[in-house]
């Protein structure tokens, strides 16, 4: 399946406190919690393809973890693109 992806994030994962508010807030549901903890032991969000760049996650996050970008042209993902990490 190819997913149209209009936006993306920078996630300051070490600042995340694992509250999962972003997970519930994301309209296309493209955020998912990591399986291992960050520096403080908290799980943190990871981004799947399909982000719209709507900034909902950034709005709801109490810990200022997100920077949101909109692509000039939508990106299509069907395989792990360059730079994406495989699921651990």
């Amino acid at each position: 399946m190819r997913t149209v992806t209009r936006g993306t994030l920078v996630i300051a994962e070490d600042r995340c406190k694992g509250c999962e508010l972003c997970i519930a807030a994301c309209p296309p549901n493209v955020l998912t919690m990591s399986r291992t903890g960050n520096r403080l032991g908290y799980l943190y969000p990871e981004l799947k393809p399909g982000c719209t760049g709507c900034t909902a996650c950034q709005q709801v996050c109490p810990d200022f973890v997100f920077e949101v970008f909109k692509f000039e042209d939508p990106v299509l993902f069907d395989t792990p693109p360059e730079g994406a990490r495989p699921c651990p």
Binding site: R39, L40, G41, Y42
Partner: protein, 194 residues
């Protein structure tokens, strides 16, 4: 006997101290327990101090020195390491033990507490493993007293963890033969418990 328990917030340092203290009280000993931790956040320094004696204690709540320690993490260890008297007993979580500085002149015992706890499916119970090992090695309280104290201390809404904690305490105690000879706290250069 004085004990420092050192670790980081979230590891269960304060719980371990409380369980040991309660066990000692249940056995009729006089106890002082103090905790030093920075707020409610994870990841900060957390130190517990336990003093046990046969009669009324004169111990200070900020203990200038002690003869034994449990090290759950190497971060913030300096707070504690510098206050150990020569010849102290140090029970350390095995994974961080190599990172502890200044072990010369002390008896360092490495306990694979996290490994044992994880094996039992209760990763967070590493502190209980260390506690069981400490009790077995020093004889300061009976292992059954520790178990009873742990049950008393766990709040109602955490009842589900009781069983795992008990197993962890016992597993720690059972590890004694593998860890070496018992340690005579009174044999350590220990003054009357002030």
């Amino acid at each position: 006997m004085e004990l420092f328990i050192s670790g980081i917030g979230g590891q269960g340092v304060q719980l371990a101290g409380k369980v040991l203290a309660l066990a000692a009280v249940a056995e009729g000993r006089h106890v002082m327990l103090s905790g030093d931790y920075g707020g409610h956040m994870r990841g900060g320094s957390s130190v517990g101090t336990v003093v046990v004696g046969p009669g009324p204690l004169r111990a200070l709540p900020v203990l200038p020195s002690a003869g034994s320690a449990i090290a759950m993490h190497n971060q913030y260890w300096e707070n504690v390491g510098g206050r150990l008297r020569p010849g102290s007993l140090i029970l350390a979580e095995a994974s961080i033990a190599p990172a502890l500085p200044g072990m010369e002149g002390h008896r360092l015992v490495q306990v694979p507490a996290t490994a044992i706890a994880t094996e039992m499916g209760a990763r967070m119970a590493a502190g209980m493993v260390l506690l069981g090992a400490y009790a077995a090695m020093t004889g300061i309280v009976a292992v059954d007293s520790l178990v009873a104290a742990m049950k008393e201390q766990i709040p109602v809404y955490r009842r589900q963890h009781i069983e795992a904690n008990e197993r962890a305490i016992r597993a720690g105690a059972d590890a004694l033969p593998a860890l070496g000879a018992p340690f005579d706290l009174d044999g350590a250069p220990l003054r009357e418990a002030v």
